[in-house]
Amino acid sequence: MTAEPLLSVDNLTVQFRTDTGWLTAIEDVGFSLGAGETLGIVGESGSGKSVTALSLLRLHATATTRIPTGTITFAGQNLLRLPSRALRRIRGGEIAMIFQDPMSSLNPVLTIADQIGETLALHQGLDRAAARRRAIELLDLVRIADAAHRVDAYPHQLSGGQRQRVMIAIAIACRPKLLIADEPTTALDVTIQAQILDLLRDLQAELGMSVILISHDLGVIAEFARRVLVMYAGRVVEAAPATTLFRRPMHPYTSGLMQAIPPLDADVHRLPTIQGSIPDPARRIPGCRFSPRCAEAQPTCRITAPSLVPVGPDHLARCPPRAGAAR
């Protein structure tokens, strides 16, 4: 890629204040995303995938959060240094976000028209009547049937799938350059999840926006993302194009995770597992964070924190033993 990427994140570390001191939630996270591209971030609980997403828009509580290192460059400006007024214009304008649970992201006492209108009034200065007309167009765009009537509904009158469509309508209201979708289908049933993924893919093609999709579900990531970051315990452990990652996972955590998914197309007697449990974020693990669970860990893995190194074309992994074997 020769052009400047739309978004580039470099060496990002985020810490939260706890009773016992500063807890490092993510460390040395870096990636970049071009215009119109789709990045998937996959990981289990506590991996830092949502913390990463929220950091992009500085949505963490300022009093209990600090970002000791890192830059987030979006369309040429460092979001971490931007004054709050300027940042507010970007939030919901050039970068929009949708969350897992549309019920708690929507205001229960406002109609859909009012909630979509709020974004339009703030960013585009539309008056009430114009905002309502635009809201109906947006509901049409997210395939809500009978939009002219549904626009006056309250969130509780909609199904879970329709509420997520409304969230998407709000998110695309200002034609963002980047949409961050944090587990957008996790609360939905599988047939509704398929509808929402279809919708996101259609809208991305129509509007030409970049998308960051965060999910714990490797299936959703494989289906949607062109590039994938795998996170574990606050660090990126592997980064590659989706086709490469799923064909040839290089980090032992990534390959372990892929094998632990029960197959839909075969009968098994036992599933391969990753030993141990997901670590408590408050516990400091020396060396490689995955080493206590890794079947291939060597003595150095438990001492020296590995860095992300190339293991193939456009393919990085945070595992020196595997990187050495790949060379």
Binding site: T191, I192, A260, P262, D267, R270
Partner: protein, 315 residues
């Protein structure tokens, strides 16, 4: 053929939501489970799978229909007495191990509670049984003195399973036992359940929404939609040759960890309202094969291949 552990016949559950309004959560479900076998019960939200599991375990009464557990009919006028006689042979494992364990009870007491309730047990026997149960579910002996909050979600589910095993049940109803767990934890619990079933010969009703997890756990699989059982078959047949259009759509919709797969476009529409349900097949409004009669009469479950049943006019 040996007598089934559990047989349900034409099971119906109505909930009164307001005067004159009835929500039919389960609409005429029939199946049985043989000793030592797992029936996977799969469906989306509101399909009635959990309500079915609860009726079958005697946790809520059925509106009509019969549940026969170990040869005893636990529904109907003598149901409560019959249920009391077989209750200890059947246990329940819940989705949320946080909600189902008392936070102020040590693990040893949580695991031994079924033993304590059932009757007197000598102190050394109780201690020995706790040790044995911890061992069976892969928890260290030191776990006995700790409290639930000291454990991860996967370990808490192990505690819930140990507790369910305390009375050596012949049948376990497990309602979404791995849904709250991360993938790497989920695989461990699935293996634990598979091992326990193999070693102890327990029959399981495994309720889940995840079709892949159900495949790994079950001998037979039943698919529910909007309160009705639409298909039931041995697992290999159900996944390799699904017959009901809903089962097919459901399998198509599951994202696979394969970037080269192109998923078919999603099925349009949503699950119908359970209030004042229309006559006919509950899936008719979304079904690509729907014919006029599908909107009028609900198709009965009928055999379409050996041990393979589906409820569809079009097949």
């Amino acid at each position: 053929m040996t007598a089934p552990v559990v047989a349900v016949q034409n099971l119906v559950k109505d909930f009164a939501t307001a005067p004159g309004r009835v929500l039919r959560a389960v609409n005429g479900v029939t199946f049985e489970i043989a000793p030592g076998e797992t029936l996977g019960l799969v469906g989306e939200s509101g399909s009635g799978k959990s309500t079915t599991g609860r009726m079958l375990a005697g946790l809520i009464p059925a509106t009509t229909g019969t549940v026969t557990l170990f040869g005893q009919t636990i529904t109907g006028p003598h149901g409560p007495a019959h249920l009391a006689a077989v209750r200890h042979r059947m246990q329940f494992v819940f989705q949320d191990p946080n909600g189902s364990l008392n936070p102020r009870m040590r693990v040893r007491d949580a695991i031994a509670e079924p033993l304590d309730i059932k009757g007197h047990i000598a102190r050394p026997d109780r201690t020995a049984r706790i040790a044995e149960l911890l061992d069976m579910v892969g928890l260290p002996q030191a776990a006995a003195d700790r409290y639930p909050h000291e454990f991860s979600g996967g370990q808490r589910q192990r505690i819930g399973i140990a507790r369910a095993l305390a009375l050596q049940p012949d049948f376990i109803v497990a309602d979404e036992p791995v849904s709250a767990l991360d993938v790497s934890m989920q695989a461990q619990i699935v293996n634990l359940l598979l091992d326990l079933q193999q070693n102890l010969g327990i029959a399981i009703l495994f309720i889940a929404h995840d079709l892949a997890v159900v495949r790994s756990m079950s001998h037979n699989v039943a698919v529910m939609y909007a309160g009705a059982l639409v298909e039931i078959a041995p697992r290999a047949a159900l996944y390799a040759a699904p017959q009901h259009p809903y089962t097919r759509a459901l399998l198509d919709a599951v994202p696979r960890p394969d970037p080269n797969r192109t998923r078919p476009r999603a099925l349009a529409g949503e699950v119908p309202s359970m209030l004042n349900r229309p006559p006919g097949c509950p899936f008719a409004a979304r079904c690509p094969l729907a014919m006029p009669q599908c909107h009028d009469t609900q198709p009965p479950l009928r055999e379409i291949a050996p041990a393979h049943q589906a409820a569809c006019h079009a097949i």
